[in-house]
Amino acid sequence: MASISLQVNGKAHVINAAPDIPLLWVLRDSLHLTGTKFGCGIAMCGACTVLVDGHPIRSCVTPAATLVGKGITTIEGLSSDVSHPVQRAWLEEDVPQCGYCQSGQILTAVSLLARTAQPTDADIDEALNGNICRCGTYNQIRAAIHRAANLQRQVTEAPVTYEQSGEIA
């Protein structure tokens, strides 16, 4: 057994686990963050995607012990009220059907939009080709990413923060 310190969604956790345990099973079985999904166990489907320092990784094949000192973001940490622009776009497009793959799709999209503010369909296909959706929501995912890009641009062009407007969140 090894003691592993992890920073997940801004909170520090110390886990006692097998030294080679993948992050996925720490998140799901130890930290009860079940929004991250098991799909294949070999990094072929993307259901287990989380962000590490903003970059998407497959948590099913990434040992938790290699992530000490890094910032891990799961779907639960994206926002507390589905207010992240990508979540808002997903909501407006009503993307999910069964929904099982969507945490991974959303986090991959977040990372894409951080790199590429206005992605083309080709950019989207390239970034999300590793995320399988068995329900076939791919066209809705494309539409939602374009919508999220516009939402993010609006935020950038017309920055209204709580501080500036005097409101308290």
């Binding site: 057994m1 686990a17 097998a18 345990i21 993948p22 099973w25 799901r28 079985d29 130890s30 009860h32 963050l33 079940t34 929004g35 991250t36 999904k37 098991f38 799909g39 294949c40 166990g41 070999i42 072929m44 489907c45 259901a47 799961t74 779907i75 639960e76 994206l78 926002s79 589905v82 979540q87 997903w90 909501l91 009503d94 993307v95 999910p96 059907q97 069964c98 929904g99 099982y100 793959c101 969507q102 945490s103 989207i124 296909d125 390239e126 999300l128 080709n129 590793g130 995320n131 399988i132 959706c133 068995r134 329900c135 076939g136 929501t137 791919y138 066209n139 809705q140 995912i141 494309r142």
Partner: protein
């Protein structure tokens, strides 16, 4: 729709099911027993109420949904039906999944055969309308006025300038007699039915809050994996658990009916423990089975006369006299369902009862399976239906439920059993492989005259004996909407050694491919346009004819973009009429599907946005099967194991999809399985148009 509706007022005694106390509960009965679809699945007539509306004093309306959600949108669309007739505020609607309770919900709780809207449409409307009338009566009594003066609006009762919420009279309403004369809305007054209402389950599905079966957590729960014999029908002869037990976190290794289970502190430890098991398998009678052997047996059968199915005119005589005959053999492989959520079940068996938490399409079957294993009274088995990460027919099986219950019983603790993806791909049951031999002929003008098919296919759901016609195995060929002057369909039941089961669109999933492609071969042999041939064969069928014309118009049939080719295919299944045109290009042997146009007449639409989702999703599901899917067998086992060897359609391969829904007031048809069957033949027919070589096998391969 005919059928009795029995209403029952049931105040407070179902508090175990529902949040909160007090308020109006209305139960009702489905007219399912006289429904052909229900009869097909053997569902007896339910005798007691099987769904409920619950109105809290704070005006929150809770609908208890008996049709579980696997992505098909039932939570939303069934709520729309209830809410529209009830005239409540859509923003105040909450939902819960029903428990398994035959006395309340009938003996066959499950989601299968695209039946949810079809069977619930009228009963839910009547339930919603009855509850509204009772609330109006309660308000009338409270205000001492005639009920005719009371009207409703969005969860409120109004009369003479006064207004009161449903919730504040719900308890009084519950004590009133159920109206004998239930007044349903006129279709023109629908406010929610027919609208693209937002899905009620989206918010939780984008925040990680939705609880799928695999997310169940029970105090004291352990985690299990199960090693099964890789050969179909084999079993463990002996095993050595020492190394597995030495893995950190492993608690126990136990033998159950389907294999050797490793129970641990967490899923990872259970996975590692399973790898460390040393098992000697008794591979049983199928140890040398291969796809080649299965295929040669099917080919042999196809040369012999089979059990007669649809027979019209004089097919044999017509073929014997025909100036022009066309013969062809078509084949399709076994397919795994590959739900995104791996199969799993959490079970807690105690001496006095059993609870299971599971994403299942067959809640009743789940309870029966647990009762069979535990020998407990089914009344002491509680099934918690969880959201499903896909179903596609696979979650109609209860094997994974039985396994979890056996393991929990063996170790005396709650346990979550998780299948690995390899278990899912290698265990089956699969959509059956099938083989069809066609013979057709043309009349002197080149129009199809005789259509003869010999279908060779194992039974869906596995090895039922006998030689009778298996209607599921021949659906899509034996019940074609086309009317040929002469037609003869025969059936052979193929070997059932490989486990098979229902797979989204079932027999249509392969038979529509066979029939629609062979029809294009006949059209080509007669020098006819594929759409023109279909119009001629559908003159008697106005709904199928109309979707064919609609899809041809919307796809600009006959005028594909330069370098692209079109193919058309149709299906009439589960109460809906669907036509698709695929626009395809070929780059060497590589097939690119650019665009799919679909026209569907599914009768009355409850939620057009969900219909579109289902149609588009069905096309994506069918695209994987058309372009990629094949389980092949060697040495009695599946040769594929995970998404690296059994790949799924990716976003870069997803075509644009245009869906056109026919406005209709006919009874609702099923949409969950409507669009799957035509996509493979539409693509294959486009390739045939490009190459003039028919595509006779799935998955589609183009030789260059």
């Amino acid at each position: 729709m005919s059928g009795e509706t029995i209403l029952k007022i049931d105040l407070l005694n179902r508090r175990d099911v529902l949040r909160g106390l007090g308020g109006l509960l209305v139960g009702f009965v489905l007219p399912g027993g006289r429904n052909a679809e229900a009869q097909r699945y053997g569902a007896p007539l339910p005798v007691k109420p099987n769904a409920y509306i619950h109105i809290d004093s704070d005006n929150i309306v809770t609908f208890v949904i008996t049709k579980v959600e696997m992505g098909q949108g039932t939570v939303t669309s069934l709520s729309q039906i209830l809410a529209d007739e009830l005239d409540c505020d859509w923003n105040c609607v909450r939902t819960e999944f029903a428990p398994v309770d035959p006395s309340s919900y009938g003996p066959m709780q499950g989601v299968f055969g695209s039946t949810s809207i079809r069977t619930q449409w009228m009963p839910l409307r009547r339930a919603g309308a009855a509850a509204r009338q009772m609330l109006m009566e309660a308000a009338a009594q409270k205000w001492s006025i005639d009920v005719a003066q009371v009207r409703t609006e969005q969860g409120f009762l109004l009369a003479n300038g006064k207004s009161i919420s449903y919730g504040s009279v719900a308890e009084a309403a519950a004590k009133l007699p159920v109206p004998a004369d239930i007044q349903l809305k006129d279709a023109k007054d629908f406010k929610l039915i027919g609208t693209p209402a937002k899905r009620l389950d989206t918010r939780d599905k984008i925040s990680g809050a939705t609880r799928f079966g695999i997310d169940a957590e029970v105090p004291g729960m352990l985690y299990a994996t199960l090693a099964r014999c890789p050969v179909f029908g084999g079993k463990a002869a002996s095993y050595d658990a020492d190394k597995a037990k030495a893995v950190t976190g492993v608690h126990e290794v136990v033998r159950v009916s389907n294999g050797i289970a490793v129970v641990a502190d967490n899923t990872w430890a259970a996975m590692q423990g399973r790898k460390a098991l040393s098992i000697t398998w008794d591979e049983g009678p199928n140890a040398t089975l291969s796809s080649a052997v299965i295929r040669s047996r099917m080919a042999e059968l196809a040369e012999k006369p089979g059990v007669a199915g649809r027979t019209e005119g004089d097919a044999a005589g017509t073929l014997a006299r025909a100036a022009k005959r066309v013969e062809a053999v078509y084949e399709a492989p076994y397919l795994a369902h590959a739900c995104m959520e791996p199969l799993n079940c959490t079970a807690s068996v105690r001496p006095d009862g059993c609870e299971i938490w599971v994403s299942t399409q067959m809640q009743s079957g789940a309870r029966q399976a647990a009762a069979r294993i535990t020998n407990l009274d089914p009344a002491h088995i509680q099934v918690h239906s969880m959201y499903m990460g896909g179903g596609f027919g696979r979650r109609g099986g209860t094997d994974f439920i039985s396994e979890a219950v056996e393991i929990s019983q063996a170790i005396g603790a709650p346990v979550k059993l998780t299948w690995m993806r390899e278990d899912d791909i290698q265990t089956g049951p699969y959509r059956p492989a099938a083989y069809v031999k066609f013979t057709g002929s043309l009349d002197s003008q080149g129009w199809p005259e005789a259509f003869v098919a010999r279908v060779v296919c194992p039974s869906f759901g596995g090895g039922r004996g006998g030689e009778e016609l298996d209607r599921t195995a021949v659906e899509g060929i034996n019940d074609l909407e086309y009317r040929f002057p002469h037609c003869a369909i025969e059936f052979h039941r193929a070997d059932g050694a490989v486990p098979t089961s229902y797979w989204r669109s079932v027999g249509y999933s392969q038979n529509t491919f066979f029939a629609e492609c062979f029809l294009d071969e006949l059209a080509a042999a007669g020098g006819k346009d594929p759409v023109e041939v279909r119009r001629r064969l559908l003159a008697h069928s106005p709904r199928m004819f109309a979707v064919l014309n609609l899809v041809a118009e919307k796809a600009n049939w006959g005028k594909p973009a330069p370098g692209r080719y079109q193919g058309v295919a149709l299906v009439n299944n589960l109460g809906s009429f669907t036509a698709e045109v695929a626009e395809v290009s070929l780059d060497g042997g590589k097939v690119k599907v650019h665009r799919v146009v679909c026209a569907i007449d599914c009768g009355q639409v409850v939620n057009p946005a969900i219909v579109k989702q289902q149609v588009e999703g069905g096309i994506a599901y069918g695209l994987t099967a058309a372009l990629k899917g094949a389980i092949t067998i060697d040495r009695g086992r599946a040769q594929q194991g995970n998404f690296n060897t059994y790949d799924m359609l990716r976003i870069s391969e997803m075509p644009k999809v245009d869906v056109h829904i026919v406005r209709s007031s006919d009874a609702p048809g099923g949409v969950g399985e409507a669009s799957v069957p035509p996509i493979a033949p539409a693509i294959a027919n486009a390739i045939f148009a490009a190459t003039r070589r028919p595509v006779c096998r799935l998955p589609i391969k183009v030789s260059v």
